[in-house]
């Protein structure tokens, strides 16, 4: 069953029907639900319905020189619900982290149709358990995210991305170590071979005040033959990542060794985070103790089993 509700009440009814008829909800489309963005510019927070797309949100924030610092690349606009449910991220996660670092509050419809909230609208809040985190990455398996509140950042005054080509992974590995030991603090730190010329390109981005960016660029140039490539690289990254949804996550220091062992083909890695995007997911080993915890979670939040399951094929339960 696919739900396409036009009101919150209709969504709740859909869930009730699914439970009554023991039908699995295979997908839901929230675009026809009411939409709103409430931006508290002075507080650097925003509360919005989950059917708003990230680009719509950024467009609403930009006149106030603020943004939600996440950048999952996609050719089709992603909604906040998709980003939260699938815990999507992009190249700038090296500097700003993933969406979990920015969430302050959440409103969710539970399997029984009740709407519950967790967190709130203030930047610091430890009242009650943190259910916001529980729904991040839950892939619609325990509830449907309706609304979220985020902490925002000022838009940086300047942002620049630089790239340098190397012939071997051993070379890039040495440069990565040098950069990590240097005083620069990049917001983007990628490694890729998308140019198909047998080369690895290291990509480093900076954001902040004009002075910060200029100084870091000069440090970077003193360490290698880096050239500016801001829009070219980000476009190439969007294209590559949009076609690739599987990722591997490895200890960052093991990245080069693991890249060397991969079959030939286009790869983009967030080197600073150890995230590899080449279209094959590594088998996710979930220990039996975690799998029983996830089973209990499923039983508590979706006893009738109307949502997508947290099944082995989805998350590699062993």
């Amino acid at each position: 069953m696919i739900l396409h509700p036009t009101s919150i009440q209709e969504l709740a009814e859909g869930l009730h029907n699914a439970a009554a008829t023991s039908t699995r909800i295979t997908d839901y489309e929230l675009s026809s639900l009411p939409r709103s963005i409430v931006h508290h510019a002075e507080d650097l927070t925003v509360t919005l319905t989950s059917n708003i797309t990230l680009s719509e949100l950024q467009a609403a924030l930009a006149p106030h020189r603020q943004w939600l610092p996440v950048d999952p690349p996609a050719e089709i606009p992603l909604t906040i619900e998709q980003i939260l449910s699938n815990n999507l991220s992009g190249p700038r996660r090296y500097g700003y982290g993933t969406i979990r670092e920015h969430i302050l509050g959440i409103k969710v419809m539970l399997a029984d149709g009740r709407v519950v909230q967790s967190g709130g609208q203030v930047v610091k809040n430890v009242a009650g358990f943190d259910l916001c985190k529980l729904f991040i990455g839950s892939r619609g398996s325990i509830g449907i995210i309706l609304e979220a509140t985020f902490k925002l950042r000022p838009l940086p005054e300047a942002e620049e991305v630089f790239a340098c080509e190397y012939h071997t992974l051993a070379e890039t590995d040495a440069v990565i170590t040098t950069l990590l030991d240097s005083p620069i603090s990049p917001i983007l730190f990628d490694l890729h071979n998308l140019n198909h010329n047998q080369c690895w390109e290291l990509v480093v981005g900076f954001a902040g005040t004009r002075e910060d960016v200029a100084w870091q660029a000069s440090v970077l140039r003193s360490l290698g033959n880096f050239r500016g490539c801001t829009s070219d690289y980000l476009e190439a990254a969007v294209q590559h990542i949009s076609n690739i949804n599987a990722t591997q996550s490895v200890l960052p220091s093991r990245l080069s060794a693991i890249l060397a062992s991969l079959p030939a083909g286009p790869v983009l890695a967030h080197a600073g985070n150890g995230i590899i995007r080449n279209g094959t997911a590594n088998p996710v080993a979930v220990t039996s103790s975690i799998s029983s915890l996830l089973q209990r979670l499923k039983n508590e939040f979706d006893p009738a089993g109307i949502f997508n399951s947290l099944q082995a094929e989805k998350i590699g339960l062993i």
Binding site: D43, L44, Q117, V126, S253, L297, L310
Partner: protein
């Protein structure tokens, strides 16, 4: 209250050693409360395990005998989080206090739960890294306790709170199972599926005992610019805070102290604060030297535009440390002003700070109690210190009433009753004001996932929980 049968004590001794089980009433007094002292009750026993396996075994023995367990770090919590409401066995992580490894290349530290917060930074600083969350109690509080309460601190404004710096941790569930939540040591940072690690951080010790933690380390900033801005009124200082934030500058810390606190701190630590100031802001910018000059100038001019009398800059690292020492020990200085105080840590949206501060001053006048303030202004996280004398029952009642009015106002202004200290036993009644019964049900469902028997740190968080007085004759002065 069920006593711990002798044969169970022997079993626990068999696991952790005879000297690491405390069951003598005079020795248990140490464990009868945390820094929230209005309610006290000693546990029936305390175990001090030395390893994850010992924790698991001790917890299994408690499970088998239906005994509540209360995980405990340094006991510096402020809301009765580690109170043994109806007795039970405290599992204290005191002996598990090592920094196990520092991995500078991957910017990670692996530590035991009893490791003191500041020790992590001390172990990492040779690599120009630090552990960013810095609660004021960081010289004493433990990482396990920080995870349980999702601790904050002055520098959370820029760097975030504990949950933003914990990659993963090992936990012993109340049934004795050992699990690892989140990123594993030597593992990749992304974990497929719901963020159980995040859901368990800040669960106030109700999900299990943390036995190991993998922390994210952050590079030490190239430079700090630490300023002391002196204002005639709290209102002016609050407006300066809003203007700085609105300008797009993200200070590392933005702390306020009002006139009464300034006098108490000055009397105790002789930093050189002006005794006639209405409020001061401690503003710290950090980052790369290149951009800091202009941001510092902007910050100073925002302060002056809002009638700051003077803005001083710390000239040396020593001066900066002295200033922070004064801020972090401000609670201690209040001892000079009053025999007792209670503190709250409600949060309001930053833009509501001036209104909130006026409200607190009004509450202070109405109840005839001094309420000095020292707080995280940049986060909108207030810390009113309500002064009272516990030998005067009427004053205790007024102090509690004043605190409750302040917390209600936080909710009314769209905030939260607690930004750092947690619900514990102290703020249980406010959960029903801040959340709906359905919200609380969902939290309850999450608890059932980890602790279906509700045996881990029981009688906390949820409205309707039993209180100490329901189990034993109240020992403290009646409130």
């Amino acid at each position: 209250m069920k006593p711990v049968p002798t044969h169970v004590l022997r079993q626990l001794e068999g696991v952790v050693g005879k000297t690491n089980v405390i069951a003598q009433p005079d020795e248990l007094i140490v464990y009868e409360c945390d820094a929230y002292t209005l309610e006290r009750n000693a546990p029936q026993a305390v175990v001090l395990p030395g390893s994850t396996e010992e924790v698991a075994e001790a917890v299994r023995i408690c499970a088998h005998n239906g005994l509540p367990i209360i995980p405990r770090g340094a006991g510096t919590s402020l809301s009765g989080t580690v109170l043994a409401v109806d007795g039970g066995v405290v599992v204290a992580t005191t002996r598990m206090n090592r920094v196990l490894s520092i991995d500078p290349r991957n910017r990670r530290a692996l530590v035991e739960p009893g490791c003191v917060n500041i020790w992590v930074t001390r172990a990492a600083q040779q690599h120009r890294l630090h552990y960013a969350p810095d609660p004021s109690s960081q010289m004493a509080c433990t990482i396990g306790g920080n995870i349980a309460t999702n601790s904050g601190g002055p520098h959370t404004l820029k760097y975030g709170v504990t949950t933003n710096h914990i990659l993963g941790f090992q936990m012993v569930l109340p049934d004795g199972q050992i699990i690892w939540l989140g990123t594993e040591p030597d593992g990749g940072e992304d974990i497929f599926g719901p963020d159980l690690r995040g859901a368990a951080i800040g669960s106030e010790g109700m999900f299990g005992v943390v036995t190991q933690a993998l922390l994210r380390l952050t590079p030490i900033p190239q430079e700090y610019r630490t300023m002391l801005a002196i204002f005639e009124t709290v209102d002016d200082a609050s407006r300066a805070v809003s203007q700085i934030i609105a300008s797009g500058i993200v200070p590392a810390a933005l702390e306020m102290m009002d006139g009464i606190i300034i006098q108490a701190v000055e009397e105790r630590y002789h930093f050189g604060f002006p005794l006639d100031a209405g409020a001061i802001l401690i503003i710290e910018l950090d980052g790369l030297t290149a951009g800091l000059g202009r941001q510092t100038e902007q910050t100073i001019s925002f302060c002056l535009e809002n009638n700051a009398r003077q803005v001083r800059q710390a000239q040396t690292e020593k001066e900066r440390n002295e200033l922070w020492k004064c801020r972090k020990r401000a609670f201690g200085a209040v001892g000079k002003l009053s025999p007792n105080f209670m503190t709250h840590d409600g949060v309001v949206p930053r833009s509501k700070l001036p209104e909130m501060m006026r409200f607190i001053s009004d509450v202070s006048a109405r109840h005839g109690l001094q309420i000095p303030n020292v707080f995280h202004a940049g986060d909108g996280n207030v810390h009113p210190l309500i002064l009272y004398n516990e030998r005067d029952p009427a004053q205790i009642r007024r102090a509690i009433a004043a605190g409750h009015e302040i917390l209600r106002k936080c909710i009314q202004l769209g905030g939260s009753v607690t930004g750092e200290h947690g619900i514990g036993v102290e703020k249980i009644d406010f959960m029903a004001e801040q959340f709906t019964p359905d919200d609380l049900d969902a939290m309850h469902a999450l608890r059932n996932v980890f602790d279906p028997e509700e045996r881990c740190n029981p009688h906390k968080m949820f409205p309707g929980s039993m209180r100490c007085a329901d189990f034993v004759q109240r020992k403290q002065i009646p409130a």
